[in-house]
Subunit: 154 residues, 2 copies
Amino acid sequence: MIKIISVGTIKEKYFLQACEEYKKRLSRWVKVEEIEIKEEDENKYFNIETLLEKEADKILKHVKEGEFIIVCDINGIELSSEEFSEILRKNINSSKNITFIIGSSNGLSNEVKRRADLLLSFSKLTFPHQLFRVLLYEQIYRGLSIIYGTKYHK
Amino acid sequence: MIKIISVGTIKEKYFLQACEEYKKRLSRWVKVEEIEIKEEDENKYFNIETLLEKEADKILKHVKEGEFIIVCDINGIELSSEEFSEILRKNINSSKNITFIIGSSNGLSNEVKRRADLLLSFSKLTFPHQLFRVLLYEQIYRGLSIIYGTKYHK
């Protein structure tokens, strides 16, 4: 199973539709569970760290022992699509659930990052988290297409 | 003016809508011209190089002297959003048109790459060109938001 924990919701209809399309295509290979954590209100916090700690509590409630945890972070390591696919393959082959964590534009607390088995960066560029979720879905779909040897459906 | 020359069309409605939304937001700052080059049929060519040369002829017809040419290529250099924004700023300040070139999944010929003032990679990961165009639009929008100091509209 693949679990995607994201802070914040997707508001733009076109990004939602893109995610739905990839989720549909993925369904023949893997169950995808999507968990959305409500973004904390910035105005209620004196500093971002406290806000991120609060979000971390909510995120980590959904993380289970034995899962392979990939935290998406701009300062993580960058992989090619083939290398990313290989990470998916290894975990699927050993029947490990894979959990992705995506923060809001405020980022993620160090507590969450410390839980990562892999701190992964998609780009040096910053993207909005709504669009980022589309990128993640597409890359999982691409990765599984490589594993299962099907022609990539563009 | 910003010109985006892409090989291939966007078929997915949600990616088209995302591009349209960013184009609309950009219109207050800059004129964006979009040129789509028809993808050559792979079955008509003995090898990819010949196909890419044919596409290159069509692409380079739209490139004018004096433009700052950014060719998007997975092997190019990676920039942060701030660095990318700085490239936009410099060219806008010196009234230079900026031209982006995006290839199809077959890539781009060396002739096109040689014309680049900047060979730019968005990621080590491969993305479909339809989604890539969304990424480019978003990054131009983000870049100009940084230049003009407006709050980024998420």
